[in-house]
Structure formats: C-alpha cells, structure tokens
Amino acid sequence: MILVIGIGNPDRGDDAAGLAVARKIRDAMKPGEVTVRELVGDQLALLDEWTGAAEVYVVDAVCSGGKPGTVYKFDAADQLTERFRHRGTHTFSLADVIELARALGRLPRHLAGFGIEGASFKIGDGMSPQAQAAVDEVTSVLLADLKAGV
C-alpha cells in the first residue's frame, strides 16, 4: 500500500500546508492508486496510521526560521534534521515520532516526505501566499513520484 499523510492544524495559518497537499493528492489520483489520510492533532497516531503500509509519504509544516515557502525533503533512512523537530508539553514532532518508531521497530520500509516552511501559525489565519505556492510545488513533485511508481 502506498500511503500519503498530510499533517497539520487547519485553524493555524500555514500549519495547514500538509493537509492541503494531502487533499490535492487525493483529488489528483484515481481511487485505489494511493491511500491519503489527513492527521490533525496527536502525531503519535502516525505509528498506527502507517502500520501495514510499505511506502509512506508524509507532508508537514515546519517552523525552523527559514524563508517562508521553502520546501525541505527528507527520507527517514536518515535521521531528520532539527527543522523537523519541535517539542511542546504534549506534541511530538515528526522527527520525534520517526525516532520513536525507529526505536520500536515500527518504521515503514520506505518513509519519506516534505516539510514546508511556514510564515505564520497564528490561530484563525489562512495560509500565506508563500505556503500556498509551496503546497503546489510539493503536490507537483509528489504526484510525479507517485505516478512514476503506480
């Protein structure tokens, strides 16, 4: 199974970027070609979401101080950079969940994805033009990868 997971919070500006990519991928692919999920909230749910999937792509927003709209590509075969790492009192970052999965032997055979540098994560805001452009860019690249593999 090929799985695409968009992560984010639809109410927090550019935090919705991963969800936006997931929706665009769902609209662009034929039913059955790829499974698309949107994950809001607890990112630890990724551990269950990707169970049984051999090939997984994850798209998340990042806030690492880079230029808004910048796209970062990752492959979980390597440890993720600090850009994908944040900590709150409850949230686990994408990098944390991947490392937890690695420690527990629960990583998919192939896990890769993209981070989109956000401009604003203010609650109630829509996505910035920079993030929207990055959403289009990531969607285009990911679709090409997916269609090549279908």
Partner: protein
C-alpha cells in the same frame, strides 16, 4: 556560574517563539516571581462560536485540542442541553461516559509513559526511554491504542470524533462492535495495573503542597461527565453557579486569563479528583492505589503520575463495566429544541475540569460563549509550585534545574493545545532584566 548571572533556557521547547513560556525571576538569590505565559486558543473559538447554530459547538470546540476533543464535546453538549432544558439519561449517558473513558485512557497513557516517566528515569524524552526500554514504551502505546480504538468505535474516529452531537450520538455502536474491544481493554486493564506498580517505584522529591483542590463530585461515581463542583475548602455548587465563584482576569505577563476561586488559587486535575472522590473508586482500584502507597489524598505533585496511573486503571475498568452493561440507545440521540436561555456544562477532561457556558436564542443562534480549560485554571497553582520548588534549588547547575523545573510543570499535564500551544522556559535575574532566551 553565579545565581545572579545565569539564565536557563529550553530552546527546543518552542516551535513558534513568543507564544508562551515560563519565566522565573530571581532577585538577590531569591525567586521573587514566576510567570507562566500561555497562549489561549479558546478565546478565538469563543468568538468563532458567536452567531453559529446551537448544534455546532461539539464539532467546533473539538478542534481546540487534539488530545482531549471528547472533553470539549461533552462540556459543550451538556451546556447546550442545559440551556434547552434537555436532559440526557440512560444508555446515551452511559455511552458518553464510555467514550470519555477512551479519552482518559489515551491521554493518561501518553502522559505517564512518554511525557512524565522519562523525567523520573533520567531520560530526555520518551524516545530515549524507548531506545533502552522498548517493551515498556510499547506497553504504554498499547494501552493508549486501546483508548484510541474505543474512541474510534464510539466516536467514529480517535482524533476529533465525528459521531457526537447535541442530544447524544448520530449512530450508536452495536453491542457486538463494543464486545470486540473487550480483549484489548482487558489487556489494557492489566497493563494499567502494572503501570501503577511501575510508577509507584519511582523516586519522588519531597514537595508536599497545600492545594485547594477543585473537581466535580458525583454522589456515587468517580466523576467524569457530570457532578457538582466541589472543593476541599467546602465549595459545593452546580455548574450554573460557576461564574459566581470562579473569576477570570487578565494578568500583564500572559495572553491567557488567570482563574481564581473566590480570590484563591486552586488546582484541578487527577490529584483534585482523587482527593475529592477516591472513595468512589471501585474497591479493586482503591486496593491497587493503596498498595502503591496512596492514601486518601495526594499532595505531592510529583506523585501525580501515580494518581494518573490509578485513573488509567479506573478508566479501563469503567470502560469494561460499561461495555458489559451496554444496550444500544434507540434512538441514539434525544431531540433538543432551542429556547432563549443560557446553559452551563462542566466535565472532567483528563487534565482537569473544563467549563463551557453558552447563551442561545430561540432560533438556535449562539449569542455568547465562554470556555475555561483546565490548564488556564491551573496556571496560578503551577506558578506557585515553580516558585517554591525552584527557590531552594537555585544552586543547582543549569541543566539539572531546568530539567527539574520542566518536570514540575509537567506534573500538571498542561495541555499545549488547550491553553499553551508551545512552551518555552526561561530563568532570568532581575538585574539582567527578563530576557527571552532561545
């Protein structure tokens, strides 16, 4: 490094700078002030709710928190139904308690295993703990998954359940669907009992506090979905009387409102629930609690992990009891018609009491909304903890003090989604001014 010149920072805690933090002000080697500065999404949601239909709060407020959406849904439903003069009873009431058990299991397992236990065992995070003790972390995740499954089956999905509505549920699960959860919940119950034993063996700093505990209290059940609002100082009121006793006000250092009970600092959450209701726990759960060293009241916040584990056991136990007695409600929801009125709702989120108030008109329009999450209510108690905890420990090295202060905050399981999306800890000497350290 001297006390006067040092700063403590936890840069990795902040994903977005400026949204929240914890600041400890030191003057002449004494802690003079602690400031928990948190950002508060509920204010945004209160504004968003005005003008919407009375049926919408369960879905809209569930988006406030990815960890405790059911709490928001349940307090919202209860408040709207109260305004409309409707009362949910019988099987629907039991099903609400069941889905809430799922949330307690999920949230408590997450906090105990991946957020709090690493502090006691000398690990930087749950990931580091998992590298050395994968079987233990896997046990925690397995318990959490049992909670997730329960929420999926009753709520439609585990994050932001979609099956909850004012008056009840869109669809009641079949008895067979719930019965299939029993083996997983029985395993979770055993694992939760082992969890109590495990965490009771941790080393706890001697740090007992004189809290005024506040929680719901129910005549014959450990409180989750309903009850009067009680405190260890003798308060006993209905949710409708909340605003007469609890006051929220702005403080200069925080975007969030602070809350006091008749002018006093108070604490909600597992320790409060346990102190006011431990005798309402089933005898089997009480017995495990006593074996773990808990008496009727626990006043050391570091031992909240033991209380939380006891509640985890209770939630598994209660879920199994409710499934054993389950009869699908038919219809799955009662009819709730709007009238012009104000309604009040109060339930026990995993980390404490959650209050909702809505004013609606007879065409169903919401004209006013108030939401007070537990983390906002606990802010002052957390600040007081930090002040007294840090004061005798200022001679510690930076790293140790920072870690222990973080742990002191984590004792109360503050919810970043409800009240502080990102937390950043800083310690500054007054003479250096309060510098944000990242």
């Amino acid at each position: 490094m001297t006390h006067g010149s040092r700063h403590i920072s936890v840069p990795a805690l902040a994903r977005v700078e400026g949204e929240g933090g914890l600041e400890i002000i030191v003057s002449d080697g004494q802690v003079t002030e602690t400031r928990l500065d948190i950002y508060e999404p509920p204010r945004f949601f209160e504004a968003l709710l005005r003008g919407r239909q009375y049926t919408e709060p369960p879905d809209i407020t569930a988006r406030i928190c990815g960890i405790c959406p059911v709490a928001y849904q349940m307090s919202a439903c209860q408040a709207i139904e109260d305004a409309c003069g409707a009362q949910v009873t019988g099987e629907i009431r039991a099903l609400r308690r069941l889905i809430y058990c799922g949330e307690w299991i999920e949230s408590h397992a997450l906090h105990v295993y991946l957020l709090h236990a690493p502090d006691f065992l000398g690990y930087d995070s749950g990931i580091h703990l998992a590298r050395d003790h994968p079987a233990i972390v896997a046990r925690g995740l397995s318990i959490k998954k049992a909670g997730n499954r329960l929420m999926e089956v009753v709520g439609g999905r585990s994050v932001h359940p979609v099956n909850v509505k004012v008056g009840g549920f869109y669809r009641a699960p079949t008895a067979n669907e719930l019965k299939q959860l029993v083996p997983q919940l029985e395993q979770a119950r055993q694992d939760a009992e082992d969890t109590v034993t495990w965490v009771a063996g941790f080393d706890f700093p001697a740090f007992d506090r004189d809290y005024e505990f506040v929680s719901l209290r129910h005549p014959d059940q450990y409180p989750i979905t309903e009850g009067s609002i009680a405190s260890t100082s003798g308060l006993d009121i209905t949710p409708a009387e909340y605003d007469k006793h609890f006051e929220e006000f702005q403080v200069p250092h925080s975007t969030a409102l602070h809350s006091v009970l008749d002018g006093r600092t108070y604490l909600t959450g597992p320790m409060a629930r346990y102190a006011l209701n431990s005798r309402r726990l089933p005898a089997s759960v009480r017995s495990v609690a006593h074996q773990a060293g808990l008496t009727a009241t626990c006043t050391n916040p570091f031992k909240s992990i033991v209380v939380r584990a006891v509640e985890l056991l209770f939630a598994c136990d209660e879920a199994l009891r409710l499934i054993g007695q389950y009869r699908p409600p038919d219809p799955p929801a009662i009819d709730v018609r709007p009238i012009t009125a104000t309604g009040y709702g109060c339930t026990e989120a995993p980390r404490g009491m959650l209050y909702h108030r809505y004013a609606i008109t007879d065409d169903g329009t919401i004209t006013d909304a108030k939401i007070v999450p537990p983390t906002s209510q606990n802010q002052r108690a957390i600040e007081a903890d930090l002040r007294d905890f840090a004061a005798p420990r200022l001679a510690m090295d930076h790293e140790t003090l920072t870690r222990e202060c973080e742990q002191a905050v984590r004792n109360h399981d503050p919810c970043i989604s409800c009240a502080a999306h990102f937390l950043d800890l800083r310690l500054a000497d007054k003479t250096d001014k309060a510098v944000r350290l990242t």
